[in-house]
């Protein structure tokens, strides 16, 4: 094959391990690479060992494990140095990374060092058939419109991609690929040291992985009403989310915010109670399998993405739903 510029995807690393989010990145990578007829390189920064075969099964033609031989090689500055080195060596046409605290730190450092463009937080990637350039689409201006961005004059074309913007797809345990370990010396600059790491407590249902999410917006009308959703979430074992408006009103902590600036969810069912459906919020829920919306305004934008729409006062409907679920459980016990 001619030296065609590959699609390079950056594996998400958490606690010195490849995170499952990488499968989504590989799904994007495969989609783009197949349109261009090029290979997918998966770059793993800072670790030499892991289940790299799995990354090949998920779509990588090559896994490039890039290290500097240091245990804390994944801190942003040294990791970005490694990424710059591997990009210079491999000359990919496209580099994509998850829009996480990891990707959103390393990618801008890398893009600046390479003097190329970077688009943040894309929710859609495609190839323009006219010029084979990467079409990077992201919600813009508070999320009320979408903008498609191109990096026409510099290479590589770089983008960070929202987690959960695609369903992992294309796993093939017969796919063959190559694993390469590359070491670069980045010892000349070592300005950062990791002192400690404290894991989050796991007392809350992880919103991002929940199969069922209940979320409330301004249409819940008060903090007390919003707290009803907590009862509903506990009853259903659901993750509890909120819109930016609800968070700004002080009804819920930022950790519950779903949307462009908060978390992206991908449940089997998403229940939006009193949510108007600003694009900023929709950006975080569009990969949900089924969306139930409860809103008193029949023209509300949330209904455009809903599979089931309940036109009515959200707090009242939620109260009714809680009661009906409680009745259901009592009935169940009687039989």
């Amino acid at each position: 094959m001619e030296s065609k510029q590959s699609v390079m995807i950056l594996a998400e690393i958490r606690s010195q391990q490849v995170h499952d989010l990488t499968w989504e990145m590989l799904t994007w990578g495969r989609k783009l690479a197949d349109k261009l007829g090029v290979q997918v390189d998966c770059v793993v920064l800072g670790i030499e060992q892991g289940n790299f075969q799995e990354l090949i099964h998920w779509g990588a033609d090559r896994v490039l494990a890039v290290t500097n031989g240091r245990p804390d090689g994944i801190l942003a500055t040294p990791a970005a140095r490694l990424l710059v080195e591997i990009i210079r060596a491999e000359q990919p046409g496209i580099v994509i990374a998850p829009a996480t605290t990891f990707g959103r730190t390393i990618m801008p450092i890398t893009a600046a060092r390479l003097a190329t463009g970077l688009t943040a937080d894309c929710t859609e990637l495609d190839i323009d058939p006219k010029d084979n350039l990467l079409l990077q689409t992201r919600p813009a201006i508070g999320g009320n419109i979408m903008a498609t961005i191109k990096t026409a004059r510099t290479k590589p074309q770089m983008a960070t991609v929202r987690p959960r913007s695609i369903k992992p797809d294309g796993f093939d345990h017969t796919r063959q690929g190559e694993v390469m370990i590359k070491q670069y010396d980045t010892a000349n600059a070592w300005p950062e040291t990791l002192l400690s790491f404290r894991h989050n407590e796991e007392n809350d249902i992880n919103l991002e992985n929940a199969d069922l999410v209940v979320a409330g917006g301004k249409g819940m009308k008060s903090k007390e009403n919003y707290q009803q959703l907590e009862e509903l979430a506990v009853l259903l074992g659901a993750g509890l989310g909120a819109t930016r408006d609800a968070v700004e009103a002080g009804w819920a902590p930022f950790a519950r915010q779903v949307g462009l600036t908060g978390k992206t969810v991908s449940p089997k069912v998403y229940i939006a109670a009193g949510v108007s459906g600003k694009i900023q919020h929709l950006a975080g829920i569009l990969t949900s399998e089924y969306i139930i919306a409860i809103n008193e305004d029949a023209d509300s934008q949330i209904f455009k993405v809903a599979d089931l729409g309940i036109i009515g006062d959200a707090p009242t409907v939620v109260t009714q739903l809680i009661q009906a679920l409680k009745d259901l459980k009592t009935d169940g016990k009687e039989h």
């Binding site: 943040a120 300005p191 969306i291 139930i292 809903a306």
Partner: protein
């Protein structure tokens, strides 16, 4: 110690418009404010100054002439002075070019120990300008910081990442981007406003920063908005009306039917950790 705070003027409401021809945001319309996270960055700088007497806090922004308003606000909040980077040639800059201009200004200011910025701005929401500026200045960058301890030679910062809190020590000079949890910005005092009102802010352009034609603005930016659109949102929606008491049970039943069909009415171990 010399601290520079990177700040940005952003639209106060969600009414920003975009020029559909060029894809560039129109920033002259409507009320503008200091980017909320930058308020936290200014507050943090002023708090460091209180602990380290002799510290100078400089607010730096790139924007239209009207952006001196946010410099004034930063000074009202305790910054010692402000510098405005403004020129027609800067218009339409993407994050890389904005960082290029900021980095040139920081080099011109000279001898900076610490640079602070909000993690992202509410208009672009990219969070890229901080790390890019640090990279162009060849200094370490610590993002998503919610606790900061500053000594003469180094900083210790706690970063909020997805699965926990990372504590990192970095040599100075360094750039830190902060999140909301780092502090509670107090309201500016009347005395602060009176002092800030007297401030004159120097305006630096391409010549002051020795930036060449073609490296700035829309022309110098590697990324270009090629299309803007309102997304088509359409699913086949089944509607129920729940306006009256009589209609409520039917609506609840419809929801429960969906949950039941997907085995979601009973709590299980179906959620991940």
């Amino acid at each position: 110690m010399k601290i520079i705070v990177l700040i940005k003027q952003v639209p106060g409401t969600a009414n920003t418009r975009m020029n559909p021809e060029t894809g560039v945001m129109i920033r002259d319309a409507g009320e503008t404010i200091l980017n909320p996270l930058d308020e936290h960055a200014v507050t943090e700088a002023v708090m460091i100054k209180k602990k380290h007497p002799g510290t100078e806090v400089i607010a730096l922004t790139m924007g239209p002439p009207s952006a001196q308003k946010v410099l004034r606000e930063a000074c009202a909040r305790g910054a010692d002075r402000g510098i405005l980077l403004s020129d027609k040639a800067f218009g339409g800059s993407d994050t890389l070019v904005t960082s290029r201009v900021l980095a040139a200004a920081i080099r011109k200011i000279g001898d900076t120990n610490l640079i602070l910025a909000g993690e992202k701005a509410t208009d672009g929401e990219t969070g890229q300008t901080g790390p890019m500026t640090a990279a162009l200045l060849d200094m370490p960058v610590l993002t998503f910081v919610h606790r900061l301890e500053v000594n003469d030679m180094h900083i210790i910062a706690r970063r909020m990442v997805e699965d926990g809190i990372e504590e990192i020590k970095a040599d100075l000079p360094a750039l830190v981007t902060v999140v909301k949890d780092i502090n509670n910005p107090p309201l500016p005092t009347i005395k602060g406003y009176i002092l800030a009102k007297k401030q004159k802010f120097p305006v630096w352009g391409p010549v002051d920063l020795a930036l060449e034609d073609g490296t700035m603005g829309l022309k110098g930016s590697p990324t270009r908005v090629v299309k803007i659109f309102t997304p088509k949102l359409s699913r086949q929606t089944t509607f129920y009306t729940a306006d009256t008491k009589e209609q409520l049970p039917g609506a609840a039943e419809a929801i429960i039917k969906v949950l039941k069909s997907r085995s979601l009415t009973e709590k299980g171990d179906r959620y991940g950790v």
